[in-house]
Every structure is written in structure tokens, then in C-alpha cells.
């Protein structure tokens, strides 16, 4: 007789142009630790956001049954009241407030009109004991390491009498000891009757803790494995996670031998001075002229940090090592220097830091290379417009006109504007971070065609992507990044998803 604390039935959630979840069914038994695994973009986080009310009931199809009753959450508060606690990758603590203030935030204990500090500290101390954290509740959160903050976050969830605890990649940023400690606490909470759902990429840790494992892929439930009944090991999980054949969604390309190295990075290190964390550790790789190099790896592995540290280092990392670009040793102090030298970087977050959304297509396309359409600092308006119109034509950007604001375009067309902007600077190497994130299949194909076209003309493209089929379908060579370093170099033709996954989950 199964006693399910949670059943999610036929959940479908679409974003403009993308079906993130497609008829997903998900069941969790009372008192178990249930792990949710899958590739990036498989829909794990979206499913948890549906569950916790981040996406209100009106924005998805399907039903949620909690403790045998149908629930309809309008927001996170509703799900909290129902006993669901969610802990995100980015922690939601206020660094400048104390531990006890954070734990009781939003649920302060009062005596009459005033806050009862003594009672709050007493309650917090009990909660901290439950997560085996021996710290002073009056110390500030910012003075704690990331591992301890995670535990404070859990204590905060416990303070709300949580029955179902959701952890979204809780160990991604933790070191080995903190990981083990966290897993131990989850086991202990299990004995106290707390059910946990954990999203994780680290398969070893999943295997060490899970009672049940559900695999999601492309927004669908692939299987739910019971540790007591089914044979479960890393190979089985990886097969389920990636188990799709690469369909014919990649345009054919002519492969030719590559001779000239255009970019070589040697012993490249980067330290984030704000946190003191070493984000890149002894990275070595090279790019040939006319080649598509795939940089694969999980989110947070250091792929984007690597790209940005090479591209003028806007984050101000302390870097060391050599960049040999076009036969010369070079260092770029500002993105401007990199652009002038012929290295461009199209960001993964086109809305956040790629495009100026409130400006027109025309203004965005020429932004990185206004010198080319101006003389003595005065812009030649006609030339500027002509440039934009040419790109709108050649990349088939669907828009009523070049004066259209970029924020009114679809994701795929925004991405094309971003491509146009970087083509206009005529780089030798374009680092393309998540070129097809959040755009539909048709637009993806167009972006792939553009990439192949560019390399056939001699440009080199470094493609960062979380999607394994895309990496395999497009790359001539592949580097796998994990934990801030390169864990393997593979040939584009012979590589398989399984091999990449293994290298990417190597810690």
C-alpha cells in the first residue's frame, strides 16, 4: 500500500515558444528521499517551481494532490502554508541580518507590539540543533561559509513545520565535507518524518541517498526507479538521462582538416576576489581557424567564467596564464580590447546582459562597432540603417522594421539580433554562450545554419552549450569542463553523450 504525500498529474507548462513540461507525472511517497535527475533544461527546476507556486495554478495544466487533497497554489506563500519548503540554488538569505533573524524572517514571534527576541533566539537554537549546526544564532549570515548557510536555509524551512522539503542542487557549490554533512542531515530529517525531493547532477551522491529516483528528459517523465526493486547504477541513470537519438536537426556541414591555431589558452587560472574562490584552474585549450569547438559542461562548471575571463575579464577576476591569439601573446583588460583584437563573446543571458532591450534593432546591431558607421564621432544615420536592414534580411529576422524595440521580438529573433551585433564587428573568434537557449526548434536550426556558414568562411566559433545533442551535432572538437577545469578533449564525431556526462560529473 503506497502512501503518497504528493502526486503531480499531467503537468504541462509552456513558455512562449517552448514546452518546458509535457504531461509530466510525478509521485513522492511519504517519508522518502526522492531524487530528480536529468540534463540541464530537462524541466526539473520548472517542475519544482510549479509545485512551490512560483508559477501560479492558472499558468499550467494538470493537477497537484498533496496529502490526498487537490491543491491550487497562487503563490509561494500558499505552498509554504501547505507545508512545502523550497531551497534554491541561489540562497534566499539576507546576508547582513543575523542567523535567527533570517530563520524567523516573515514569521517573527511577537509579544504584544514588539518582537520577542529571546523567544526567537530560543526557537532558532532548537532548529539549528536539528540541522546539527553549532553556531551562535546572533552571528551574521554573511560571516558563514556557504555550507553553513545552506543549513540555516534548511532550519528556516523547518521553522515553518515543513513536511515536504525541496532542494534544488543543494550540493552544487559545496565542498566534499559539507556535502556529506548535508546528506547526513537529510537522512536524519527523514527519520523525523520529513520527506525530501532533491535535484542533483552528482549521480554518486544521488545513488548514496535516494530511495527513489525520477528521471526527466525534454520535459517528460522517463522513468521512476525504486532502489529496492530496480537495478540502479550510474550507467543506467546516464542512459535514461540522455537516451535519445540525435535526430536530423543539425544541418549537414563539410568537414575539413584544420591546420592553423588561432587561439590557444595555456595554464589559465582565475580567482574571484570577492569570494576568494578559484573559479578556473589550469585550463588549457586551443581553437583552430574555421572550427566549431564545443565547450560542454554542467551549469556552474566554469564555462561562462572561462569565456568572460578571456573576453576582457569584466568580472575583475585575478587571472594568470597565457592567451595566444593570432600568433601573439595577448591579454585583454576590457571587452573593448578583445573586440578590437578580433575576439567576440555573445552572452548566455541575452536579455540580462546581451542586448539593450529598450532600444531598437538598429541601435543594438551597431552598438559594438559604431566606429564603422560613423566619421569623427558623428553617426551616418543612413549607413547605420542600411547595415541593420542588411542583417535583418540576411539573418531573416522577423520584425516589422528596424525601429522595432528588441524587447518586442521573440527569443529566436532576439538571438539573431545578438548574432548580427557580433557579426558586425567581424571577429576571428566568436565565443557563443548557449546559442539556442530558450528558442524554438525552427529558430535553432537557423542559428545552426548561420554557425556553419560562418565557419565555412573562416571564422572560428567556440560554442558553449548545456545541451549534449547540440554539442555533438555541431562541434568539430569538444572540451568538457567540470569544476573550473577541463576534464577531457573529445573528437566531435566519435564522442558520445555518455562519455561527456561521465567527464562532466567528475569531481
Amino acid at each position: 500500500m503506497s502512501d503518497n504525500i504528493l502526486e503531480m498529474r499531467h503537468i504541462t507548462k509552456t513558455f512562449p515558444g517552448v514546452r518546458a513540461l509535457n504531461d509530466v507525472n510525478f509521485e513522492v511517497r511519504r517519508g522518502e528521499i526522492h531524487c530528480l535527475v536529468g540534463e540541464n533544461g530537462a524541466g526539473k527546476s520548472t517542475l519544482m517551481k510549479v509545485l512551490s507556486g512560483v508559477y501560479p495554478h492558472s499558468e499550467f495544466e494538470g493537477e497537484i494532490i498533496l496529502n490526498g487533497k487537490k491543491v491550487e497554489f497562487k503563490n509561494i506563500h500558499d505552498s509554504e502554508d501547505a507545508g512545502i519548503g523550497i531551497i534554491y540554488q541561489e540562497l534566499a538569505l539576507v546576508p547582513d541580518m543575523t542567523v535567527y533573524e533570517n530563520i524567523m524572517l516573515g514569521h517573527e514571534i511577537t509579544r504584544g507590539m514588539t518582537i520577542d527576541v529571546q523567544e526567537m533566539i530560543k526557537r532558532s537554537t532548537e532548529l539549528l540543533k536539528r540541522v546539527r549546526l553549532s553556531i551562535n544564532p546572533t552571528s551574521k549570515v554573511k560571516d558563514l561559509g556557504i555550507g553553513k548557510r545552506q543549513l540555516v536555509e534548511i532550519a528556516k524551512a523547518l521553522s515553518r513545520n515543513v513536511q515536504l522539503l525541496i532542494l534544488d542542487e543543494p550540493t552544487a557549490a559545496l565542498n566534499e565535507d559539507d556535502c556529506q554533512n548535508l546528506l547526513e542531515i537529510l537522512r536524519e530529517l527523514k527519520t523525523q518524518g520529513v520527506t525530501s525531493i532533491m535535484i542533483s547532477h552528482k549521480l554518486k551522491e544521488v545513488l548514496s541517498i535516494a530511495d527513489t529516483i525520477t528521471v526527466l528528459r525534454d520535459g517528460q517523465t522517463i522513468c521512476t526507479l525504486d532502489r529496492q526493486k530496480d537495478v540502479v547504477n550510474e550507467q543506467v541513470l546516464i542512459k535514461h538521462m540522455v537516451g535519445r537519438s540525435i535526430e536530423n536537426i543539425y544541418p549537414p556541414k563539410k568537414s575539413k582538416p584544420f591546420k592553423d591555431v588561432i587561439l590557444e589558452v595555456k595554464n589559465w587560472n582565475a580567482i574571484d576576489l570577492k569570494t576568494g574562490r578559484k573559479v578556473l584552474n589550469n585550463v588549457n585549450f586551443k581553437v583552430y581557424k574555421g572550427e566549431v569547438v564545443g565547450l560542454s559542461g554542467l551549469v556552474g562548471s566554469g564555462r561562462t567564467e572561462l569565456a568572460r575571463s578571456l573576453f576582457g575579464n569584466p568580472d575583475g577576476y585575478q587571472v594568470s596564464g597565457d592567451i595566444i591569439f593570432k600568433g601573439k601573446k595577448q591579454r585583454f583588460g576590457h571587452p573593448r580590447d578583445a573586440i578590437r583584437a578580433g575576439l567576440a563573446y555573445a552572452t548566455e543571458d541575452r536579455k540580462g546582459n546581451g542586448l539593450v532591450l529598450i532600444k531598437s534593432i538598429q541601435e543594438n546591431i551597431s552598438l559594438a562597432n559604431l566606429q564603422k558607421v560613423s566619421r569623427n564621432g558623428v553617426i551616418n544615420e543612413e549607413l547605420d540603417k542600411q547595415t541593420a536592414m542588411n542583417f535583418v534580411d540576411s539573418l531573416s529576422i522577423k520584425t516589422p522594421g528596424i525601429h522595432q524595440l528588441v524587447m518586442n521580438l521573440s527569443g529566436g529573433n532576439q538571438q539573431k539580433v545578438s548574432v548580427a551585433k557580433w557579426l558586425f564587428v567581424e571577429p576571428d573568434v566568436l565565443i557563443f554562450d548557449e546559442p539556442t537557449r530558450g528558442i524554438d526548434v525552427g529558430a535553432k536550426y537557423e542559428i545552426y545554419t548561420i554557425i556553419n556558414d560562418l565557419v565555412s568562411k573562416g571564422m572560428s566559433i567556440v560554442m558553449i552549450s548545456s545541451e549534449l545533442p547540440e554539442i555533438l551535432g555541431m562541434s568539430d572538437r569538444i572540451y568538457v569542463v567540470a569544476n573550473g577545469t577541463i576534464t577531457g578533449e573529445l573528437d566531435g564525431k566519435s564522442a558520445t553523450q555518455e562519455v561527456i556526462m561521465q567527464l562532466a560529473t567528475q569531481y
Binding site: F311, G312, P314, H334, P335, R336, A338, I339, R340, Y345, T347, G352, N353, G354, L355, V356, L357, I358, K359, E363, S366, L367, A368, L370, Q371, S374, G377, V378, I379, E381, E382, K385, Q386, G401, M407, N408, K421
Partner: protein, 392 residues
């Protein structure tokens, strides 16, 4: 008509401001039995607007890049006092004094920008420090003498003088300032020619243009307005130097913001600083330039104010920054960054000053004046936010 309709709908924010100005002016003209729209009063109104409009122009770009500059009010007062001291105590020539004071303004702007750009100090705090410092500096400069009287006529003409009438004649159109008429006529001709050339060039490149009927209507409409303004100005003493300087500043800034690489970069930094940085734009440098321009405008404003009062007072420039901020917001600048035009801020300044001028004419109590100005500011910003939301 549908073309006109879409044109209106597209630019509702911009046209709304002009309509608001027209309504305000009409209301005051009726209430004051025509005095408001008399040549004398309009010239006076524009002269009053001058020092505030240039501050608003500088402030506009600061707000466009998501900052604020509270120091400009007392900075303009302080720099105006320095000009007075240079003229009266150091016996410098007018030219040298003006160049020196404008240089000081640029330096002051750069000093405000330095902690903002290099250390990330909030501009509110950095410029608040400037507000305190320049207030003290102004008191210091005027401490020994109190108000400094400036007897220099050439200098005072900047605030009170008029462009001389080289075509003066008692026979032809007596009582009108002929030079102003000629300048107005030239301006209308330049406007029409440039519009026609622009349209032709656009058609050459096969860009979309207005239909010829609407285009001619637009030419006539704007020409009539320009002609009307010219006529009113010519009816009194003609163009004042203050108006010339104000228009000059606005035209230069309009050109820089609309047509140059620097202008594009400023708006890109305001629209999305991170994207701008990753596009190779030096955000720190842009920040320094924009604050330097704000300081420069404070200097111009200080010169105009001192010349207008023919003296430097210890209270000069007080609340100037607040008036400039209000004018910029009425003119459609957005605190979210990247939006707002210099032309808009000029209109905003004229709207703001029309309210003060009109209410003074009607003898409205000063306390009520502040309340009404506050309400108008609020309405303008609410209008701005709602039209922008609908457009998005």
C-alpha cells in the same frame, strides 16, 4: 487619417508634453486676460527658464545613465560667485572668466563622478557631499563682502541683454525687432530645407517616409509655430542672449545625443550597463563624461544667474538641482535609465517655469504654487509611466 492616427499613437508621450504646454499656456492667457502671452512676458519667461533649462539638460543625461547629481544647484551658485569675484576683484576679462568658470565646472563634475565610477559610491551620496561642500564654498566666497555686485555690463548682458537690431528702422514694421524676424525666417527656411533633404535621402535608401500630404502638413504646422514664436519675441526686445545661449546648448546636446557615437554609448549605458560593458563600451568613462557635462552646465547656469541678478548672492542656486530634476522628469526622462531626451527636458523646463510665471501673474499665494507644481510633476510622471506601460 489613419496614418496621422498611428503617428499620434506612437508618439503619444512626446506630443502629450507639447499639448500639456499649450494647455497650460492657454489657461494662463485666458486667466490673465492675455498678459501671459504678451511679448514682454514670454521673453521674460524664457529668460527665467534659461539657467534652469541648462541645468536640466545636464541632469537629463545623468538620469539617463541611472544616476543623479544633487550638487549642481549650489555648484552653479558657487561658480557664479567665482565669476563675480574674478570680474570684480581679480579684474579678469569677461572671456577669460567664462572659460575659467566652465573649466572649474568640468573639474567639479569629474570630482563627483570619480568615487561613483571607480568605487561604486552611489551618486546620490557622492553628489549630496558636493551639495554640502559647494554650499559651504559659496558661503565662504561671499562671507567677507556679502552679496557681490557685478558692474560689468558686457557680462550682465548675458542675463539681461538682447541681440542688437542691426536692421532697426522706424519706417518698416515699427515696434518689431527686425533682426529677430530675420533670424526666425532663416530658421524656418533651414528647417524646411533640412526636412526635404532628409526625406529625399531616406527615399533614396528606400526607407519609410511620411506620405507627401502629411509631410507638407507637418512642414506648415511647425513653420507656423516657429513663425508665431518669432513674432512674439520680435514684439518686445527680440532675442535675448539668454535665449540664444539656451537654444545653443540644447541644439548642441541634441546633436550629440542623437547623432554621435558618444550619444549612442550614453543611452546604451543607461539602457543596460552590463550589455554596454560587454559591447566594449567603457562605462566608467561614459560616467565621467556625463558628470563632467553636468558640472559644465552648472557653470553655464551659474554665469547666467549671476549675470541676470547682476550680482552673486549667498543663496544663489539654492534648490536649483530640484528644479532641474523636476523639469527633466516632466520632460519624460525615466529613472529606470536609457530614456529621455534633451529636447524633452527643455520643454519640461518651460512647462515648469510657465507654471511659476503664470501663477505669479495671477498673484497666486506662494504656498499654493508649490503644491500645484508638485501635483503637476506627479501627473506628468504618472502619465509617463502609464503610456510607457501601454506601449510595451
Amino acid at each position: 487619417m489613419s496614418e496621422l492616427g498611428t503617428l499620434l499613437k506612437k508618439n503619444v508621450r512626446e506630443y502629450g508634453m507639447y499639448i500639456a504646454l499649450a494647455v497650460i499656456m492657454a489657461v494662463f492667457t485666458i486667466l490673465s486676460h492675455g498678459v501671459f502671452l504678451s511679448s514682454r512676458n514670454i521673453v521674460n519667461l524664457l529668460n527665467q527658464t534659461g539657467y534652469m533649462a541648462v541645468l536640466a539638460v545636464g541632469m537629463t543625461l545623468v538620469i539617463v545613465i541611472r544616476h543623479i547629481d544633487l550638487s549642481v544647484g549650489f555648484l552653479s551658485g558657487f561658480l557664479g560667485a567665482i565669476a563675480a569675484v574674478a570680474l570684480t576683484q581679480w579684474n579678469w576679462s569677461v572671456g577669460v572668466t567664462i572659460v575659467f568658470v566652465m573649466g572649474l565646472g568640468i573639474v567639479a563634475g569629474l570630482l563627483t563622478a570619480l568615487p561613483v565610477a571607480s568605487l561604486g559610491v552611489p551618486a546620490f551620496v557622492a553628489s549630496l557631499a558636493g551639495w554640502l561642500i559647494y554650499r559651504g564654498a559659496l558661503m565662504l566666497v561671499t562671507a567677507s563682502t556679502g552679496t557681490i555686485i557685478v558692474p560689468n555690463e558686457a557680462f550682465n548682458a548675458l542675463g539681461n541683454g538682447y541681440v542688437p537690431d542691426i536692421f532697426a528702422s522706424d519706417m518698416f514694421l515699427p515696434g518689431l525687432h527686425k533682426t529677430t524676424l530675420v533670424i526666425g525666417l532663416i530658421a524656418i527656411i533651414i528647417y524646411i530645407i533640412s526636412q526635404i533633404l532628409d526625406r529625399r535621402r531616406k527615399m533614396q535608401y528606400k526607407f519609410e517616409v511620411l506620405s507627401s500630404g502629411l509631410f507638407v502638413a507637418q512642414l506648415i504646422f511647425v513653420s507656423v509655430i516657429l513663425g508665431f514664436i518669432t513674432w512674439i519675441l520680435a514684439g518686445y526686445n527680440g532675442l535675448s542672449w539668454t535665449i540664444v545661449i539656451m537654444l545653443g546648448v540644447v541644439l548642441i546636446y541634441n546633436f550629440v545625443t542623437q547623432r554621435t557615437v558618444l550619444g549612442r554609448h550614453i543611452y546604451a549605458v543607461g539602457g543596460n550597463p552590463e550589455a554596454a560593458e560587454l559591447s566594449g563600451i567603457n562605462v566608467k568613462k561614459i560616467t565621467m563624461i556625463v558628470f563632467a557635462s553636468s558640472g559644465l552646465m552648472a557653470a553655464v547656469s551659474g554665469i547666467l544667474f549671476t549675470a541676470r541678478l547682476k550680482s552673486a548672492t549667498p543663496q544663489a542656486g539654492q534648490l536649483g538641482e530640484m528644479d532641474a530634476i523636476a523639469a527633466a522628469y516632466i520632460g519624460g526622462v525615466s529613472a529606470a535609465g536609457g530614456v529621455g531626451s534633451v529636447m524633452g527636458s527643455l520643454i519640461g523646463a518651460i512647462v515648469y517655469m510657465s507654471l511659476m510665471n503664470g501663477m505669479n501673474l495671477l498673484g497666486t499665494d506662494i504656498s499654493l504654487q508649490y503644491i500645484i507644481r508638485g501635483l503637476v510633476l506627479l501627473v506628468a510622471v504618472i502619465f509617463d509611466v502609464t503610456t510607457r506601460k501601454r506601449a510595451a
